[in-house]
């Protein structure tokens, strides 16, 4: 079982990371999710995105989340890379990947990880447009997504 959980302080190359992660395991299948900085917010071009975090909690929380996923699905590998800092449109924010013998495990674990990274990890996001910086508030959809996993310990 490969576990690779990182807080990235600078730009990273998702294609390179995926190729490396995939080559390291004998998984039947590997699922991934890549989140990128969008280029528009409510029709305003996005100039920059910043993710602030709280170091004493952020990476430990990500590692605990990874272990929860490993307890609940049968995985051959798990990858989480999450950026912090200031990014530009098109930059990768988060890359999650799960390898498994059976694809249902890989799909569900990736989905679980993303819902929790969005709503339960220690990141605060703000976006800069021509109107200046604006903090992004949590969406109701995020809470709904999270509620789907109430049965997972």
């Amino acid at each position: 079982m490969i576990r690779d959980v990182r807080l990235a302080h600078a730009d990273f190359d998702p294609a390179h990371e995926m190729a490396h992660f995939t080559a390291r395991q004998d998984a039947g299948g590997v699922t991934s999710f890549l989140g990128k900085v969008r280029s528009e917010a409510s029709d305003n071009p996005v100039l920059a995105l910043e993710l602030r975090h709280y170091a004493p909690l952020t990476l430990p929380g990500m590692e605990e989340l990874a272990m929860r996923a490993e307890r609940n699905w049968k995985l051959t590998g798990l990858l989480i890379i999450h950026r912090e800092g200031v990014m530009e449109p098109g930059d990768p924010i988060v890359l999650v990947a799960c390898g498994a013998r059976h694809r249902r495990d890989a799909f569900e674990a990736s989905d679980f990880l993303m819902d929790h990274l969005k709503s339960e990890s220690w990141f605060w996001k703000r976006e800069k447009t021509a109107n200046g910086w604006r903090w992004i508030e949590p969406r109701a959809q995020d809470a709904d997504d999270l509620a789907r996993w109430a049965h997972i310990r």
Binding site: K118, E120, K125
Partner: protein, 81 residues
């Protein structure tokens, strides 16, 4: 003696800084700390959805004091990923 306060997310805008060093005479409760802050900030950090971490561990709003050298972080609802 000094206590470090850390403000995340929109609380940073309310505080005007990401961090504040509070001169203290001794350990303080959350209420005593709030009394030392600008009213607007005191209200903001007391919201029910703001979590608190003392020296990197989450704590409930009561049952502790923070003293010299401690770090107290105020964490509003997250919006990551």
């Amino acid at each position: 003696m000094s206590l470090k306060l850390v403000f995340l997310g929109r609380l940073e805008d309310v505080a005007g800084h990401g961090e504040i060093a509070l001169d203290i005479a001794g350990p303080l409760t959350l209420s005593e700390i709030a009394e030392r802050l600008e009213p607007q900030l005191a209200v903001a950090i007391s919201a029910a959805n703001v979590r608190i971490a003392l020296n990197g561990s989450l704590v409930s709003p009561g049952g502790w004091t923070a003293g010299n050298g401690d770090e107290l972080a105020f964490l509003p609802p997250v919006s990551g990923g």
